[in-house]
């Protein structure tokens, strides 16, 4: 088997989860849907992060009880392993597509206005191919290297817009509509849970369940908090009515700063730096999906699967632009109800844990 998982430490895996949680949380959202009940994206993000953490902790606990290092160890024991793995692979692929799609839209709408989407996509493909083919070890190490720069850019972006923040814009907080909030949190759940599911898929690389658990916890909590802070900043920059019509709210937030800055404008540098983070996130999800696929379906090499999945994901994104409204609608609906893809198989995977002999427990 050539799964190219390798071995990596806690900090690297936590960095990858953090980056994925942030970019998934902030750049995967459909702004129109998320703000239909008011400026509640930050509340939704908190709920989705908590849900994802509960799911992760539950899975790790079952792994401990049953014995195993990754998700495929749980799925592999099930009679319907292919049926259980397929929705998770689809969910990861969808989670990978969302940030890429949003960045692609931002690029073609605001930056390369004279160029076609397919051209921009062709630039994304080689990096996706390379990152997924190089494997988990490279992905997480790249994440660890890029993390300080990403954090710096995010914090700088949040601080530079501080003059534009006004607390009145977060009102009305839709607390009277818990059903609406929870339905939105459900839609956000895939984005919040995807980094942890991906980590569970490549769990054997973390060398230890304990390391995987702490990396997942730290990454998801830090990434979730950062995403929540960013969404809160976004809510203070625009009202919910503005956000409903805003396809790329974070880029708009970057350019809200006044134009008379005598030095360089850095909004596009930051945008493309974040694009790097989004590509890394997408590659992480696609690679994890490929590993799960390879392990469940018995493919001996992860790279053909990773290349195919990357190609399919990019093609589907292009379909959104070039095909009819119906196709776009189907994909949007898939994004919105992708939580079903996680919520159905996971309880089945985690059902009836068999308690192992106490002496064999590793922690």
């Amino acid at each position: 088997m050539n799964l190219r998982i390798g071995a990596f430490g806690r900090q690297e895996s936590a960095a990858m989860v953090l980056i994925a949680a942030f970019f998934g949380g902030c750049f995967g959202m459909d702004s129109c849907v998320l703000h239909e009940h008011g400026n509640a994206s930050w509340i939704v993000q908190i709920i989705a992060t908590v849900q994802a953490l509960l799911l992760f902790e539950g899975t790790v606990w079952v792994l401990r009880v049953r014995g195993g290092n990754d998700l495929s160890a749980l799925i592999g024991k099930s009679r319907f392993k292919k049926t259980l793995a397929a929705p998770l692979i689809l969910a990861l692929a969808l989670a990978a597509m969302q940030p890429l799609e949003q960045f692609l839209f931002t690029m073609t709408q605001y930056v390369f206005t004279d160029s076609k989407q397919v051209t921009a996509c062709l630039y994304l493909l080689p990096s996706l191919f390379l990152l997924t083919a190089l494997g988990a070890e490279t992905l997480v190490r790249t994440a660890r290297i890029l993390l300080p720069i990403m954090l710096l850019s995010i914090i700088a972006a949040l601080l530079s817009g501080i003059g534009q923040y006004h607390l009145y814009r977060i009102h009305p907080i839709p607390l009277r509509d818990p059903f609406g909030i929870f339905s939105l949190a459900g839609a956000a759940q895939v984005r919040a849970a995807a980094p942890l599911i991906a980590l569970l898929c490549i769990g054997e690389g973390t060398q230890d369940r304990m390391a995987m658990r702490s990396a997942g916890r730290i990454g998801a909590i830090a990434g979730g908090l950062l995403a929540t802070a960013s969404l809160f900043a976004l809510s203070m920059t625009f009202t919910y009515t503005q956000l409903q019509d805003m396809p790329s709210p974070f880029y708009r937030m970057l350019v809200e700063v006044r134009a008379e800055n005598p030095t360089l404008r850095l909004d596009r540098a930051v945008l493309f730096l974040w694009l790097g983070g989004a590509i890394l996130t997408a590659a992480f999800y696609l690679y994890a999906a490929s590993v799960l696929f390879a392990k469940t379906f018995g493919v001996r090499d992860v790279r053909p699967v990773a290349l195919c999945l990357s190609g399919i994901a990019i093609t589907l994104i292009l379909v959104l632009y070039y095909n009819s409204e119906t196709t776009a609608m189907i994909l949007k609906m898939l994004y919105r109800y992708a939580w079903v893809l996680i919520s159905v198989p996971f309880p089945l995977i985690l059902l009836k844990p068999k308690r192992r002999k106490p002496c064999a427990a590793s922690y």
């Binding site: 088997m1 390798g6 494997g135 790249t142 540098a269 590509i279």
Partner: protein, 530 residues
Amino acid sequence: MKHAFRTLFAFDQPYRQFELLETEPKGTPPFFTRRKERRAKIGHAHGTIEKQLTANRKWLMERFHTEINTDVILRSFKLGGTVDALAVSMNGMADDAKIADFILRPAFRVSVDGVSSGDLPAYFCEHALSMHETEMTDAWDAIVSAVTEGRTAILFDGAKEAILCDTRGFVSRPVGEPENEMTIMGPKEAFTENIRTNVTLLRRILKRPDFVCEFRDAGGTNGTKLVLAYLDGTVNPRLLSEVKRRLDTVSTDMRLTVGRLEQLIEDYSYLPLPQMLKTERPDRAASAVLDGRIAILVEGCPQAGVLPITIGTLLMSGEDLDMRQPVGTIVLAIRMVGALLSTYLPAYFLALALHHPGQLSGEILETVVASRAMVFLPLWMEMIFLLLVFQLVREAGLRVPGSIGHAIGIIGGLLLGQAAVSANIVSTVVLIIVALTGLGNFAIPDYSAQVAASYYRVLLCIAAALAGLLGITVAGLCVTAVMCSAKSFGVPFFAPFSPVTRHAGHLLFRSRIRNRADAADLSNPKRRRT
């Protein structure tokens, strides 16, 4: 190239990489497994000497082509006036006076009555030969190798063994100052071409019993020697055995240098960054050895190869730790900025000027546009042209000796630049960008890393010209990912940052120097920090 394609596209190949940090392959690599095969293949093994001196003499005459190769001196003499003997040496490599005074003169005087033919070498060694370093051997390979490196072989009629005496006395360059790694503080000694001198230079710094200098055959027909220098008990034994295993696979007729040896034993042939640090400073090599790394000295090469290395090693200079912490931090920060400018500045400028002009402030826009008013070349072509000119000036300055080299730098930099601007071939702003890039490039201490930065610079410039910041992002991400996946002899290139290992904080930001008695953690040394 074929290997790179195979690595990329050969599916279902197991993940085979030497990894020191986490993945622990079962067992240790075997020692010297392929030596016999290699020897047989290139015809190295020539058996042992005969008892008859005439036969041995004939063999040597044939082997060294003495009828045309007048360098080889076959001096026949009678040991103690009775036994036929032969002293073989290489003219110019061996010291004539040493041979005459310490071999021939005692040989004529010694009495060998009653000594059997077979015991003659041992007897001569013990009773007559007044030389410090001697060795008995019966292998032709050893004799030939010894003669070619300046030692003298003494063969006796009736004896199955020969004596090898150290009579090396060739002319060599004295220890000088480093030419490429100049520092203001710290020692001023540099390695020479003489491997013995180089080992001595290291030993003068590392006066400890666990410092091992392992002399080895570098491989190939030239008989070049190399030295593996390391601290026994500190260096990771798996790293040592892996290096030995790789060195053992070297089988070439090329003249070996550290640079060539690096390419023969490295993992990633197509990575522009070096995977071994080549230093001409003994103090730097010694510091690396103290950190648990291995230094390789090759005969005839005035540099030492240090391995494994990381990106931090390439950006460190020999005197960084000699400076005080606050000053050292600033110097390091400037160097990092220089390295970043050198790699990214021209590409970023191209991206802004071609694709995102709105990112530049009005004043900068006006200046840039005004400077390009009469320039006929497109901006991207202008940039690539100037970068090439810069490399040209640099190469010309490097290859031309001394003061003329400096003059070329000045002429190229000032006159050519001024003339190009006057002739409207280039604009002043692009000239300034390229000059800044060049300065940044010179801030990188390692020459190989400088060249690698130039490679990445051109790659990023092309990406920026094609797709602006999108191109830079994609190319930058690919470059970073490839560098993250690369390892120098099992140590990931970005260690100790990714993967994170314990380190003293002297790599990107200087921390205080503290008393410590442990090696760098990144190669998993035996004596590690707690």
